[in-house]
């Protein structure tokens, strides 16, 4: 379970201070998929970076399975599987070596890594490429490698930044199936997206973010109720206040 309380984060730029995140709070439960929906530049990636302890919030708290991310970031990182916005697989290593590298950095034994790799190769459908160097991989193969690498230590909580970004229709469908699989296994899954269809199709709970703030959250039914719209699409547009930057 991941609890997020009133996160704030500002950056200094040449033109002044920019508040990237200005009040984001939500709870993501185990066995559920929680979607962060918002236009580009809404603060989704910055929020996720604070969840996986790469950035420290200016104020607010993140609790992962009850552990405070500010106080014990190492334990939090052990409990998280992270697919950052930056996929960055090592192109001169094979997919298997990429996965094993992260397994070792998570303190897994060789046997554990081998067993987990087999399971992930199965569920992600990457048996044909697992022993190839990742140079020349398609976007989908790279994303799969990065996801397998992120989940090698069998984490209870999974954070994915735009997991379907740049994937074709078939791979996107497969990816959705994989995310549902993670939910079936009882994991707490958070993913961000600017594509409304995807969030609507997958999520148990939706957190709508715009301009660094949570503007609406709840189950799809609750969202419709809150905004007084019968159509989920209209509900989103109403919550965000404009259609700009949103992929319907």
């Amino acid at each position: 379970m991941i609890e997020v309380h009133d996160l704030h984060k500002s950056f200094k730029t040449k033109t002044g201070t920019v508040a990237a995140v200005a009040g984001v709070g939500f709870t993501a439960h185990d066995g559920q998929i929680t979607g962060l929906l918002g236009p580009n530049g809404a603060g989704k990636t910055t929020t996720l970076r604070m969840l996986y302890t790469l950035m420290a919030p200016d104020s607010g708290r993140v609790l992962v399975d009850g552990i405070d991310a500010a106080k014990d970031p190492d334990s939090v990182r052990q409990r998280l599987g992270v697919l950052p916005d930056a996929r960055g697989v090592y192109k001169r290593l094979t997919a298997r070596e990429n996965i094993a590298y992260f397994g070792e950095l998570h303190g897994l034994s060789k046997e554990q890594i081998a067993a987990r790799t087999e399971a992930l190769v199965d569920s992600l459908g990457m048996a044909d490429v697992i022993d190839r160097q990742t140079e020349g991989f398609s976007q989908g193969q790279r994303t799969k490698t990065a996801i397998a690498r992120a989940l090698v230590h069998d984490p209870k909580n999974v954070i994915l930044d735009e997991p379907t970004n740049g994937l074709d229709v078939m791979t996107t469908r497969a990816m959705r199936g994989f995310l549902r699989g993670l939910r079936e296994e009882g994991r707490c899954v958070i993913f961000s997206s600017h594509i409304m269809q995807e969030v609507a199709a997958l999520c148990d709970r939706i957190v709508v973010i715009a301009k660094g703030r949570v503007v609406a959250q709840g189950t799809p039914d609750e969202l419709r109720e809150q905004t007084g719209q019968t159509n989920l699409e209209d509900a989103f547009v109403h919550a965000i206040g404009s259609e700009e930057g949103l992929f319907l």
Binding site: Q78, V82, R87, Y90
Partner: protein
């Protein structure tokens, strides 16, 4: 799904993992590997030794082959000319305009015998012989010295004969005899021949793995793989140290190759054979001296790579860094000073002095070793601490 399988990895386990991965990654990059392992370490010694043997060959030929000497007024001093012919010199008719011939570099040296030579000779007065040459030309040095030496010898011989003819012992005219005794050992002479070695070693040790260091911190960031890496529970210091360890090992490997290339080059290059030697026993000592230098280079470049925005920016520091190891060497060239203990505490000067001592087969005393390693490793540790601090900055992981 099972419960929390992973545990926080050990510090050294992470270091070891990162180091192995970086070396594997590097070894898969065959072309970069070939260039940095073969070109640098092999080309530099080959070039230097090649040049050395060309110079030494030239010296031998200039010193030993028959000297063709154009003489103006060759007819004025037939005895001198005859004597010169017996001294491996072949006197020839001079060109019409000797000054122009020297200026045009057609001749290195021309002898001009005065028209009054015979007259002065008979009168017992000093007879004038002029040596024409251009002192700004490196090539003329040896022929001019040969001619000068021969003329001096001829003058002394004739002078001695004249004194004897007058019943005076020639030693009366030689109140002092100066005899130089060269105390240089073969090893110290070798040290002079290898004067470029310290700089070559220090520079390649300091910056030999620079591109690798920049690539695995600034480059990894640009390729966007640093963010997932830093999201693992492995300690950032351990990740950084693993990268530094990989670069240090690689840097030392290039140095081993450089030293063996030097050794073979010195053994087999014509003209240098046997004169200069790099013994197998000194190679490990030289490598030990290089350890702090390589560490210093790896940590400094890691620090730079962690503080800059891009690979390009990191690389722009290279031209400055290449000059840094030269500063002490230039300082010593301008004002040479005797070895003193504090020199072993000055970065880049210290390894210079240590390498020179080892090549000249002088003993490096324990105090010098302690000061050298203490300061060298201490400085590397300091840079490591600063780099580790930079590795904790939020900005590091995020690219773009």
């Amino acid at each position: 799904m099972s419960q929390q399988k992973s545990k926080k990895p050990g510090w050294f386990a992470s270091l070891w993992t990162v180091m192995r991965k970086e070396l594997l990654d590097l070894f898969r990059d065959r072309r970069t590997l070939a260039i940095s392992l073969l070109m640098g370490p092999l080309l530099a010694p080959a070039l230097l030794i090649g040049m050395g043997s060309v110079i030494s060959n030239k010296l031998t030929t200039q010193l030993e082959k028959t000297l063709e000497l154009p003489v103006v007024g060759i007819e004025h001093a037939p005895n001198l000319i005859e004597w010169l012919k017996g001294q491996n010199v072949s006197p020839q008719e001079a060109p019409a305009d000797p000054v122009a011939a020297i200026a045009a570099q057609d001749e290195d040296v021309i002898l001009r015998i005065s028209e009054k030579y015979a007259e002065d000779w008979r009168a017992g007065k000093p007879a004038l012989v002029e040596i024409l040459y251009d002192s700004s030309r490196e090539d003329s040095q040896i022929p001019v010295q040969r001619v000068e030496r021969l003329l001096t010898a001829y003058g002394q011989t004739v002078g001695a004969l004249r004194l004897l003819a007058r019943g005076v012992s020639p030693s009366v005219a030689q109140p002092v005899i100066a005899s130089p005794i060269d105390l240089a050992t073969p090893e110290s002479r070798a040290g002079r021949m290898l004067a470029f070695l310290p700089y070559l070693l220090i520079l390649s040790g300091f910056l030999g793995s620079a591109y690798l260091v920049i690539d695995i911190t600034a480059g990894e960031r640009e390729r966007q793989s640093l963010e997932p890496l830093l999201a693992t529970p492995a300690a950032r210091e351990a990740i950084m140290s693993g990268k530094i360890a990989a670069c240090t090992l690689f840097g030392l490997a290039t140095l081993v190759l450089t030293l063996f290339a030097m050794k073979l080059g010195l053994q087999y290059s014509p003209g240098l054979q046997g004169k200069v030697e790099l013994s197998a026993a000194t190679i490990p000592v030289l490598l030990a001296i290089m350890v702090p230098v390589v560490l210093l280079g790896s940590t400094l470049l890691t620090l730079i790579s962690a503080s800059v925005k891009s690979v390009k920016e990191a690389q722009s520091y290279m031209s400055i860094l290449m000059l840094v190891p030269m500063i002490p060497t230039i300082f010593l060239m301008v004002s040479p000073v005797k070895n003193q203990w504090w020199m072993f505490a000055v970065p880049f000067l210290a390894p210079n002095q240590m390498i020179n001592k080892v090549i000249r087969q002088e003993t490096v005393v324990v105090l010098e070793w302690i000061v050298y390693f203490g300061v060298g490793l201490g400085l590397a540790l300091l840079l490591w601490l600063v780099a580790a601090k930079l590795y904790h900055r939020e900005k590091l992981a995020i690219s773009g």
